[in-house]
């Protein structure tokens, strides 16, 4: 049933707006388990459409799916020193394996079922996967080994946000083993490219790609690449990462192979991941004060068809017309809203909140005139929301209109990002004014020192999002560090982030 209470506006309270859009768009709901959410059918279908696309790309690049245990022995996490430093803190720890009746009639963990070595619910699977790789890889002929896993992972987060940061989340983690450093490097770059292409072409979410600074690198990785998107509050969202792990894990898990000449070498690993967090990024890239806006390629419903009858005896006619319109759009994900207990206005309102790209209205007058009313979820300033068009034209042009809308959303997001990106900033004062004022992506020189990075973080809560890839760099390479003024070793992108 539509709840016609207006959503909080983005300008009013951005964070409240986001939660309302997710909840009232029926993407997700809070659960009785702290920090865990329920992904509702509409949100899960969106995730499935995203997953299927990524999965297709993983296969096309030679990867195979597999499944590894949910639990990791506690001792595994201690093996890779940096890894444990980064991850060993907040996790779900299984210590018992049986409940029994307690003194007050309730249930308690049975002390006799206490595990000798506790198990950790995987926060990520590097350790257990490379342990298995070591068993499967003998010679260079077994390489490269290209595996992906779709799974749930758990990180005991203190502050959670629907999709953006939840204790349990769904993700994919790619894990590969290669004979040479160069092959692993190519792989980590290739998968970053797969992510970028998916995010831009399917999510309509433009990203800046590049390398993380050492302090933001994945624990246990030689270096980390990332896709950074800009949300509508001008904060950055890290939407996907790809790590070159070097030989760090292969040494700890004894992942060796016989080379063609018979020598023994440690393999080179990569890992890369994206998660349900992307759904939050999608929401915050396109949605507006009327609710969700979902790009057509990922929309569970691309076109909703609403039959409109003033009188009861018109209902059957308009409903049949609505069904025949849906049937005439075989490649399009349509939905006919045949509920009789809601007004057309309430339906329009509901489908706008749910971000359906196009709405078709059909009433008795439209049938008479052989026309349909077509409304796009968002249009450019000055364009009409509603068009009255000949039926044939709507049917013929809808696939192209869906593609046009898809492209327009990407373009709009890119323009918004660029108009909130700042280049050529050399003064630290100016830098702070931007970060602490409107926010956005600030491109500056950086000396490479962690103390400058630390100072910025403490004073402004901004971090280096990436050392951007070549195509994102400024035409004029910055000469000095924006913080200390010493010679810059790289241009970097700063922003506050999720």
């Amino acid at each position: 049933m539509a709840d016609e209470k207006k959503l909080t506006g983005r300008d009013e309270d951005y964070s409240a707006w986001y939660n309302e859009v997710v909840l009232r768009g029926e993407l997700a709901d809070y659960s009785p388990v702290r920090g865990c959410m329920v992904i509702r059918p509409y949100g899960y279908r969106l995730w499935e459409l995203m997953r299927d696309q990524l999965d297709r790309r993983f296969r096309e690049t030679g990867h195979q799916n597999a499944y590894f245990p949910l639990f990791i022995p506690q001792s595994f996490l201690s093996r890779e020193a940096e890894h444990v430093e980064g991850f060993a803190k907040e996790m779900a720890i299984v210590t018992h394996t049986r409940l029994k009746a307690g003194p007050d009639g309730g249930l308690v963990p049975d002390p006799e079922s206490r595990l000798e070595e506790p198990l950790v619910v995987r926060p990520t699977s590097e350790t257990i996967i490379y342990e298995m790789f070591a068993k499967w890889v003998q010679s260079y002929r077994d390489l490269p080994l290209l595996i992906n896993q779709w799974a749930n992972v758990v990180r005991w987060e203190m502050r959670t946000r629907l999709f953006l940061r939840t204790t349990e989340f769904l993700w994919q983690e790619g894990h590969t083993a290669h004979a040479t450093h160069q092959e692993a490097e190519e792989e980590s770059r290739r998968m970053l490219g797969v992510y970028r292409e998916f995010m831009e072409e399917w999510m309509g979410m433009p990203v800046v790609t590049g390398r993380k600074s050492p302090s933001e690198t994945f624990p246990g990785a030689d270096h980390t690449y990332a896709c950074e998107a800009m949300m509508q509050d001008n904060r950055a969202l890290q939407a996907g990462t790809s790590h070159h792990l070097g030989q760090n894990f292969s040494r700890q898990f004894n992942l060796k192979f016989a080379t063609e000449s018979g020598a023994e070498e440690y393999a080179y690993n990569t890992s890369w991941g994206t998660s349900t967090r992307m759904v939050g990024g999608l929401v915050m890239t396109h949605s507006d004060d009327a609710g969700l806006v979902i790009p057509p390629r990922l929309a569970p419903i691309q076109v909703v068809i609403v039959p409109i009858a003033r009188k009861d005896d018109e209902w059957q006619t308009v409903l049949e017309k609505a069904l025949s319109v849906a049937a005439a759009l075989p490649g399009v994900r349509t939905h006919v809203d045949d509920r009789r207990n809601l007004t057309p206005g309430a339906k329009f309102y509901e489908w706008e909140i749910r971000g359906v790209p196009f709405r078709i209205e059909v009433g008795p007058k439209d049938i008479e005139k052989q026309q349909l009313v077509l409304a796009r979820r968002v249009v450019a300033d000055g364009e009409a929301r509603k068009e009255f068009l000949p039926e044939a034209e709507v049917l013929n042009s809808l696939p192209a209109r869906l593609e046009d809308f898809q492209e327009w959303l990407l373009m709009r997001a890119r323009e918004r990002r660029e108009s909130n990106s700042y280049r050529g900033v050399t003064s630290y004062d100016e830098f702070r004014q931007i970060i602490e004022g409107p926010g956005g992506f600030v491109y500056t020189g950086w000396c490479g020192g962690s103390s400058c990075e630390e100072r910025v973080k403490e004073e402004t809560r901004a971090t280096i999002r990436v050392i951007p890839d070549e195509e994102f760099r400024s035409v004029e390479t910055p000469k000095g560090c924006v913080v200390c003024g010493q010679p810059a070793t790289a241009e970097v992108v700063w922003a506050r982030s999720y």
Copy 2:
């Protein structure tokens, strides 16, 4: 690399045979976590093909996928009294949420992170799902609510077997809410039918369907329906269950709805599930002493093409031919085995272990004669394993041959089951001789008393698998209970089971 050690035979040691077939067929591997397995890419692909088929059927019958938390508050499990009795015993219990450095340098659960209320890793999700349903359902207009979840679940099993019984396993669990008892009953029967159709038409695994006796009913259900398949050691495997939960859970979780007349009523629920256990059933239905046999519709590779060259200068020609044969079979899942470091014999052996339905060999002589060598993984007694056929005939007939093989496997499995099923058994001595001898499905009368059921279980380890649906019942309804001789209230199927 092919390991040419012969498999243990089924007659020699059935259990060892099964493990070897799974491991050497590369479906799964043991993991370092007790009771948990790794599903390898070949096994996971098989599972994906199964999942996609079931998922399609769930959608066609109006269900939507969603995702609920991995963790369940311990108190939830105490609410439904029978449910907790059946499930509260062996589960993974999360008690802490942080690791810290211990006295000996390793990691220990941080006592300060102890949870006030422990969380249980879901053994099944009725409790948390019906808690959410109660939030979403207000009126009869919100019903039926038809949800499915694909997820991992954990039951702390003492004795585990690859796929058949593992601590963690993958499954789907359907959960629905209905306005009337009759609708829920129809739903639970409908989904049993979906399972049966999938198992027979896709897995080639015939099943006997029916209702469970009270002692074998799901904890918290009014009654349970099941699909029971016969394995090659004549034991039964329960491959899918569908439960009518009545109002048991809706009362505990306050899942009420306003009826059309404005009254308040508790909803009726069903739940139904199948799991990776089906993979074990598939293996034990069709495989033989040479390894896996996978029915074509679910085979990750349906046809393997092996180019054969005696001399190095022939290699390019036969390889190109193999690739062109693969390209000429666009609707078929083919694989060209282009490894140069293995003999054709070693390749044949390996693909037989992995259960690929058809093998095509192509050598220089075959190219000359415009023929191909076609070998089917299993043939009927007296039929030739290998055929030398004109290339065009192979290409044209392969899709039909795959379907024929699919049907033949089902027919063979059905014949095997029927020749190991016994009807008209009225003497308890004879009954024991069958169960304790060859084993199989024994159809007898039963008085309906749990003491007779208990006695059989204690004395023979057999249980009532189902009170069979009408089409499976004997022509002559048994008159007396096979145990006590009292009048029979139903015909039942007994067997030892997995």
